[in-house]
Amino acid sequence: MKCEDIKKNLDLYIDHEILSKEEIEAIDAHLAECDDCRLEYDEMKKMIDELSRLSEVELPKDFHDNLMNEIRKSNKINETFFKKHYKWAVGTAAVLLAGIVVTAGIQMAPGLLRGSSQMVAYDERVDYGMEAPSMDSSKSVNLEMTEVSPEAMPEESPMATNVEERKIIKNIYMELDTSDIELTFNNIQNQVNAVGGYVEYSNMGDYYYGYYERTQSQEKMRYASINARVPSNQLESVTAYVESLGELRTKSLNTVDQTDYYYDIDAQIENLKVRETRLRELMDEAKNISDIITIESELSRVRNEIDSLTRNLKSIDKNVDYSTLNISLREVEDSSKINPEDRSIWQEAKDGIIKNINRIINFLQSTVIFAISYLPVAVMGLIGLGAVYWMIKKTGIFKRRMKK
């Protein structure tokens, strides 16, 4: 083979691709003899070796959790999106139906509407609790699996009497619905500061449905998130406080026990320190320059390693002392409350319409429920009446017959 042919196939040769056994052997033989091709091959190999080192990358520690939170969020939003549209469809149908009924029902409306406004409040809570059951029941069940009841939380330093202090890192993730997002947002931040914690990151804004699908829909809801660090011994009191501010949707606790890892590093540091002392002694005894250089470089390596391991320990300590609290807030629609900045005539009109649709739905519901629930009574009554009528008639006939 000519050098030209070899160089053309060098990539395939290096990559173990496509070439036949004979071709590979021919290249082997050529490389053994030809310095020029050999150099080209070596250079290519070195470059590829260097490239392969670029595969080592470091992801931020919170990347995974952030990703999972984003997915959870988008899940919830899609559910509400469908739920909303479902409501609108039902609403429209109800309006048509109601148009027919309303004329007939108009005289008794005032009394019934007052009665049904209580029903609205009641119904919404039931509706909320079910959380679009038809949409994705399996998903919500599985989300619940990650929830942790307070009893399941590990006790505060159960091994406190031990020489080794336990190193447990706790993260809590919570999702909360609230009717006044700004108030809740501020309350949580104040509480975090009050117990000696701090807010690492917070964000509030409008969230658009269907963002990831890039759909046409532009419906928005208000959304906020708070990422806070609170002293571990205050974690339970803070989460309990947060729970009291709204409707808890999800709560999950994630604990990582770093005890073994921590004391392993601790032991390594001790060893390195012993080594450092030894090296310093050697340094004092060293006579020639080359020895001094060697010892100095080793010393700086040991020193660097001690520093880096100590930073690791401090970072674990910090994470143990300060638990992470991740809170997602969502403003739920409350038909009695309108956002101040959105208060326009159209907004009011829209709310008015929604309110009335809700009333009509509830009016229809209560009518149907009333009718159905009294059906047995009505049937019994009718049967009773029929029987009495039949008996009267019968006795009447009998009497008339007797008279004849």
Partner: protein, 191 residues
Amino acid sequence: MSEMDIFLIKKCVDGDFKSFEQLIVKYEKNAFAIALRYLGNYDDALDVTQEALIKVYKNIKNFRFESSFTTWLYRIVINTSKDFLKKNNKEKIISIEDHSIDLPDDRERENPVKNAENKELKLIVEEALMALNEENRIVVLLKDIQGFTYDEISDVLQIPIGTVRSRISRGRAMLKNELMKQNPDILNLIG
């Protein structure tokens, strides 16, 4: 594709969130490495990787078991990266701080002088890689950084094997050229 992956994917399709987590955690790092080496910017790569993996979640019900899951996943990562570059339509200037992602490996621990040299070398290679056009960069990245076979690259990028082969040749030649521009003796420093 492993039995375990198939099992997890099926559970995801049924809406099991935990299975998705179990599945995705294995591929996060590689997905990020691809985005990072393709985009050349750490923060952008984080955003793009997250966006891509959310897409994976949302589209997992559309996954056909004909191709491998990793191929499919990395294709989404690459396409999301491409979209990002198109949207931003600007070549990122690589700055030394936000581009060097260093994990000390054994070679670096051996001695501090060599360590500094290696760091320098790594940066030069990173910059040279970013100097390639997107087409050649992605094949070199998948072949020499991620260690894919020609078949896998052909699958991920959906181009014929012949094209994979010629792009790898061209990409490597161009990369070598870029490295020589930095330092004609550079390849003798390696190894």
